[in-house]
Symmetry: C3
Subunit: 161 residues, 3 copies
């Protein structure tokens, strides 16, 4: 029996357009029978955050500030270009709705239904001042670059987005 093909995506960017591209690739790959792992790192962590969290908790002032700056959650992502104070992002969201394309939130749900695995990068989490409880429940694993590389060396396709 042929081995299952696989793809690993590093989602470094927290921009809406790049996140949509990542989930389009991930969901298409999963639909084709591939194993897909997404490694969320740096700004990409914001895509799987629970949403903006102002809880101060045990965070240091520096971590609190990074949390504020990063401003998480899938629904608050913006275009990398042409955001124009939100007009560009809203225009694109409108077109996507009209063409019945999945929003980012829907893309995440489809990915989970199809078994796409979510890994949150622990190194970036520390830098960004984020803890496990700041993420949506769908995260499969909290791990570092070694876990990613063990998957990537076996994968047919690996992309840094």
């Amino acid at each position: 029996m042929a081995e299952q093909e696989s793809m690993t995506l590093i989602l470094f960017s927290g921009d809406l357009d790049k996140a949509l591209a990542a989930f389009n690739l991930a969901n298409t790959g999963a639909a084709m029978g591939m194993r897909v792992d997404i490694f969320f790192t740096f700004w990409g962590l914001s895509v799987i955050e629970k949403g903006r969290h102002f809880d101060r908790g045990r965070k240091s002032p520096m971590q609190y500030m990074m949390g504020l700056m990063n401003g998480g959650g899938a629904t608050s992502r913006k275009l990398s270009k042409m955001n124009m104070g939100g007009v560009g992002t809203r225009t694109m969201k409108g077109l996507m709705k009209r063409f019945k394309m999945p929003s980012l939130t829907e893309g995440i749900a489809i990915a989970r239904e199809q078994g796409v695995r979510f890994i949150a990068c622990t190194t970036s989490m520390a830098i960004m001042g984020l803890e496990e409880k700041d993420f949506i429940d769908e995260v499969d694993e909290f791990a570092g670059a070694a876990t990613y590389l063990a998957l990537a060396t076996k994968a047919e396709v690996s992309l840094f987005i």
Copy 2:
């Protein structure tokens, strides 16, 4: 006989510097005997657009606006950084000319001569409000992520630019 090696590039960016990097890789690979497919998606579609098109046609107001914002054509691409109102882009173009390096337009022509294949992403086209007639004649195929992944899983090198 050894199988032909291949490379797939996703050109997501519409920035001049990233497009030049993509065509440098593509043309070098093709010169080395590799099969090269470039999958133009999102802002990268602007690189193979016919040029700024103000024709309203059957476009919705939203699609028209996205078309205006994206502002296509290889000659109007700008640097991702240090554009400085066009000064940086012009300076770089001057240096490239002086060192007899191919411009982006020349890079596209060389790619075509060498058989590099151009695929325009249909999903992004809908989001950006673009139709087949908006693109240069050199596009080989209009297709989605499944077509890309079928190529990428067979390729030795796949990059997201």
Copy 3:
């Protein structure tokens, strides 16, 4: 005996966050026994520059200007987002120090100790107006895309950062 696994990274970006991600991947891979080659191109060249160099030498006015704009050296890299006049970059550097994570300069040193190879892209050097003497001594090779592709086609993982 199994062949050594390998990874090639194109570091196109000169942003602090992306450079840190590249060195985290490179150093983790090298620690796992992989051969790692980093191909520094375009803005990424700034990471291995000796530092801001105002020496005019035989540079043309255009090359001089590109040199000024690019502003090299590992210690002067900034975040791609949320730099906020330096506050974001300083905040992140503070958190990294607190969590005892290697700075970019330390990441470069660790990479060298582990045998990660540094290749500077000669095509980009000409465009940016840079010469061999502008780089740190740790560069192994000055070469173009053909050298990169010869490595990438043999590598298990290749990423464009």
